[in-house]
């Protein structure tokens, strides 16, 4: 077996030669002007606005926020998330969605087999583990945010539900760009769910949508062909490369990176210098399209 050995390299400081403006660390005074509103990452003391996290100051009219580089997911109503069931409780599932508190999926906010809306009976409660058990992955939408910051999810659409075969990636939530849709059937032959919570799901594209009666709880466990697995593995490497180089993730950026990466073998993409070149080409392409 051939083994690839590289010398350790000093991590590059990025292409940005000048540091971004408005960089603050906790305790720094942002402004002593009282005409501003206090946003996330700031606190008021002695009529002065201080930063409470290390990051970049962002100002929208009179609102001042400090955006940290790394953070847990702050849920908003309507976000698409990918999560993992951690606990089956009475009438509810607990879901890990990379937020501060576990999210909750109520039995009343899922589509049950049978399709039509009906009362949730005691049998349904007993059957809960058959529908979703611990460790299962789901895609869902944020229905509401509780007062303590925990999220309530729902899967009341056929888009959402249990996820079958595929790869889960975890990236920083701030890297996922908010778009109209987060479900993408890419032309390269795979589907991607870019969860707003930084969990990304790559799976083979399902050709014909299965009948609505299953309620999204049936997993397709047929073997995935080797070609499809190759596409999925390449997408995984591309998305991780984008995240590593701090580029926003959305359908176009993922697709461009995928296209530029095709001249390399899948395993070659794991080498940092190859990935850097691919990302650089994809970035140039994005900038060209953007103007």
């Amino acid at each position: 077996m051939a083994v690839d050995i590289r010398l350790p390299r000093k991590r590059k400081r990025g292409e940005l030669t000048s540091e971004p403006r408005g960089l603050v660390s906790p305790g720094d005074v942002i402004t002593s002007d009282t005409g501003f509103m206090r946003g996330h990452g700031t606190y008021m003391e002695d009529d002065k606005l201080h930063a409470s996290v290390a990051g970049v100051v962002e100002r929208v009219n009179k609102l001042i926020c400090v955006q940290p580089l790394k953070t847990r997911y702050n849920g908003e109503v309507g976000d698409v998330v990918v999560g993992r069931i951690t606990e089956v409780g009475q009438k509810r599932w607990r879901v890990d969605t990379n937020s501060r508190l576990n999210s909750i999926l109520m039995l009343s906010s899922v589509n049950l087999p049978g399709g039509e809306l009906r009362r949730r009976s005691a049998e349904d409660e007993l059957m809960m583990r058959q529908y979703l058990s611990e460790g299962d992955l789901i895609s869902a939408e944020v229905q509401s945010v509780f007062s303590d910051g925990a999220l309530s999810l729902h899967t009341r659409s056929l888009k959402y539900g249990k996820l079958g075969q595929g790869i889960l990636l975890k990236v920083s939530p701030s890297l996922v760009k908010r778009r109209k849709t987060h479900f993408h059937n890419l032309p390269c032959g795979a589907s991607v769910i870019l969860g707003n919570n930084g969990y990304i799901w790559i799976s083979p594209t399902v050709e014909n949508e299965s009948s609505d009666t299953a309620g999204g709880f049936i997993q397709n466990l047929e073997p995935v062909s080797e070609d499809e697995r190759g596409v999925i593995a390449r997408l995984r490497n591309c998305i991780l490369g984008l995240a590593e180089h701090r580029l926003m993730l959305y359908d176009t950026s993922v697709l461009y990176t995928y296209e530029t990466s095709t001249k390399y073998e899948i395993h070659e993409l794991l080498k940092p210098d190859v990935m850097e070149e691919v990302i650089h080409l994809a970035r140039l392409k994005l900038e060209q399209e953007g103007t």
Binding site: Y43, K70, D148
Partner: protein, 218 residues
């Protein structure tokens, strides 16, 4: 960073280095080296908390101190307590009610001034985790030798020969003391001169936190 003063003895710190975000699983992590003393800290949170430890108005802050060998004993529990109290004063725990913040400190090597290294490392890990804090902290240890000389950032050999060991934690906004831990015999006058000697370096460390975000040799 070197300076010599005839009246106060050896006033210089050992070389320091820090690296953040080196562990993938925790929310924040940092390693901090002061000379040969080296500590690695992981911060998990804010996350779900057990109901028995839950506070309705603030986050539960837990510190776990892991020595290099053996199981934690009384002195480790005392260090945990000290670091927890220090963290509770700077972390804005009221913003995350009913959640837990776990700080795990693993000693890699102890070559003197361990407590200050732990506090500095914890502060960098909290910064990496992006937890809201009212300010940053910097800790400096000094020792008083038998003839009254102040040695900053003592090695374990110097700590052994010392008459007293004092550790101070300063905050970055007004450079005030928030934690003071002393061990040994000293006069009030000596205490104040130690505070002033340490404050000078606490101030320097606090003023350039963003410069140390990746690996920086001081």
């Amino acid at each position: 960073m070197t300076s010599q003063r005839a009246d106060c003895g050896n006033l210089e710190l050992r070389s320091q280095s820090c690296e953040q975000n080196l562990l993938s699983r925790p929310d924040g992590s940092a390693t901090y080296c002061q000379g040969d003393t080296s500590v690695i800290v992981a911060v998990y949170g804010p996350a779900e908390v057990k109901q028995s430890k839950e506070f309705l108005d603030k986050a539960t802050l837990e510190v776990i101190f892991k020595p290099k060998v053996g199981i934690p004993g009384c002195s480790e529990k005392f260090q945990e307590r000290l670091i927890r109290n220090t963290c509770e004063t700077i972390v804005l725990t009221a913003l995350h009610p009913r959640s837990s913040i776990n700080i795990i400190i693993q000693v890699m090597h102890n070559a003197g001034s361990l407590l200050s290294c732990c506090v500095n490392s914890t502060c960098m890990a909290l910064l990496d985790a992006g937890l809201p804090m009212s300010c940053l902290v910097a800790a400096v240890t000094c020792s008083l030798s038998c003839d009254g000389d102040i040695i900053l950032d003592p090695t374990s050999q110097q700590e052994k020969e010392a008459k007293a060991i004092l550790t101070f934690v300063f905050e970055s906004r007004d450079n005030e003391i928030i934690t003071s831990n002393t061990h040994g015999i000293y006069s009030i006058k000596q205490y104040y001169s130690c505070v002033e000697a340490c404050r000078k370096y606490g101030f320097v460390s606090c003023q350039s936190p963003l410069g140390t975000t990746n690996t920086v040799e001081q």
